[in-house]
């Protein structure tokens, strides 16, 4: 019984699923925060004010350059020291991943809006639309399908990078499977199950994105 994946899952189901739950919850929270965060960051990156534009650019480049492991560890150990407050591993993980998601989605939105023909802005303007209306009715609806492939790619990377949150003591699916392996002494099956879990999280995302792209752009013409 011990060397089959089915029995591995069956015998350790509660522990396994509590790990998956922790991973999925942290990812969902981070992605949910990244979407409004991305709109805010994208708006700042498009701002007329040069200080805003350049400081957000600097933040983006800096944040991109740092490895996630460093951000997690620094957040977990330095924040309590500097601000004299207690932070949980989950809090640090969601914060680090949300910032990552926000700056990357913001950048995707900015790029997509800038890639739209200028005539779209001009013809909207000559119809008397306000700046907000222009973004709401003309630019963002056209930008979203262009953002989608990049956003799905980003989320897939976030899912995979989430395996690092064990560094700050979060008991996620990786940690749970490690613990199960220590008990069952069956690393091969354990890691196969772990690989299957990550595949099951990422693969449907790519499929969903393909379907959504088709819906936004049914004829498959270049946007």
């Amino acid at each position: 019984m011990h060397n089959s994946a089915a029995s591995f899952i069956f015998n350790n189901a509660p522990q396994l699923f509590s790990g998956i739950e922790a991973t999925v919850l942290i990812l969902c929270a981070s992605i949910a925060l990244s979407i409004p965060g991305g709109f805010i960051f994208g708006a700042l990156r498009c701002a007329k004010n040069k200080v805003l534009r350049y400081s957000t650019r600097a933040f983006l480049e800096f944040y991109r350059a740092l490895p996630m492991a460093l951000l997690l560890l620094a957040g977990f150990f330095l924040i309590p020291q500097i601000f004299q407050i207690q932070v949980s591993g989950e809090f640090v993980a969601v914060t680090a991943f949300s910032f990552w998601g926000s700056v990357e989605i913001g950048e995707l939105i900015r790029g997509a809006i800038e890639s739209l023909p200028k005539i779209q802005t001009e013809s909207g303007t000559t119809l008397g639309l306000s700046k907000t209306q222009l973004y709401r009715y003309i630019l963002i609806p056209q930008a979203l399908p262009r953002v989608l492939p990049g956003a799905v790619n980003l989320i897939t990377r976030m899912v995979k990078t989430s395996s690092l949150i064990i560094l700050v003591g979060v008991v996620d699916v990786v940690k749970q499977i490690q613990q199960i392996i220590e008990r069952t002494k069956d690393p091969l099956i354990g890691y196969i199950v772990l690989a299957a879990v990550f595949f099951a999280l990422c693969f449907p995302l790519a499929q969903a994105s393909k379907r959504l792209e088709k819906r936004f752009n049914p004829t498959g013409e270049p946007l």
Binding site: P117, I119, Q120, E122, S123, G124, T125, T126, L127, G128, L129, S130, Q133, Y137, I138, P141, Q142, T219, E221
Partner: protein, 257 residues
């Protein structure tokens, strides 16, 4: 259209200059646009025609001079652009329909979101205009399902749905296949018949001759000549305009008299 009383003037352009960096695009351009007048702007490529048109509705800011609409400046002081853009419609060279909205949604965006008009009333107007250009059955179509000529005709009536007082046309047929040019020009002619005030930038000389009340010939950002259409096409006063017309030996459009 000469001999207008001054209270007929819709738009006054006085001493307008515009430069991009050090390059002068327009220098000291002045003219009046009267109610119901069709003014055609012609001139060689790069003479500033499109820039002049874009200055008239604020897409380009002028560097000197003044433009006034109903006597109110569009250059100095606080300008209510939302109002002005409703009154001065514009159609561009490249297809500018919103690709993610169908024809009817394109037509209604301005009337509903900007003018906050009643949906039923605005829809009725949009459908009437669609019927007039022979596209009543395409209201649910997306722009990519339409031909270039159809897109330009719809772009024109999208502006008309705002009930503008002036229409600006920036080389609206320049990007079209030749066989689609006439269907677009016919719509503009129809507008002229109805008395719409228009400023038209075009390379179609036959069309210009047929539709213009006055012609403004622009060269290197300066007004070389401005005058009644028949006079201009019969015998332009400036040598440069004469040379320009001589070069255009082939007229696609026969003059309509």
């Amino acid at each position: 259209m000469t001999g207008h009383a001054s209270n007929d003037i819709l738009l006054t352009v006085s001493g307008v200059s515009k430069n991009f960096g050090r390059k002068a695009i327009l220098s000291d351009v002045s003219f009046d646009l009267h109610h119901g007048e069709v003014l055609v702007i012609i001139g060689p490529s790069g003479c500033g025609k499109s820039t002049l048109l874009r200055c008239l509705n604020g897409l380009e800011k002028v560097n000197a001079g003044d433009i006034s609409f109903h006597g109110k400046s569009l250059v100095h002081g606080k300008v209510d652009w939302k109002h002005i853009h409703q009154k001065i419609g514009m159609v561009f060279q490249s297809y500018d329909l919103f690709p993610h909205l169908n024809v009817l949604q394109n037509l209604l965006l301005g009337p509903i979101k900007v003018q906050k008009r009643d949906l039923a009333e605005a829809t009725q107007q949009a459908r009437t205009l669609l019927a007039r250009i022979g596209l009543a059955d395409r209201e649910g179509a997306l722009p990519r399902q339409l031909s270039g000529g159809q897109k330009q005709r719809i772009a024109i009536i999208r502006s008309l749905c705002m009930n503008p007082e002036i229409m600006l046309f920036d080389e609206v047929t320049a990007a079209l296949d030749p066989e689609m040019v006439s269907e677009v020009l016919d719509v503009i002619r129809e507008l002229a018949k109805q008395g719409m005030t228009m400023v038209i930038v075009t390379h179609e000389m036959g069309f210009a001759q047929a539709i213009a009340d006055r012609v403004l010939f622009l060269e290197q950002g300066k007004i070389c000549e401005i005058g009644p259409s028949d006079q201009f096409f019969a015998k332009p006063t400036s040598e440069r305009a004469q040379q320009f017309l001589d070069k255009l030996l082939v007229h696609r459009w026969a003059p309509v008299i």
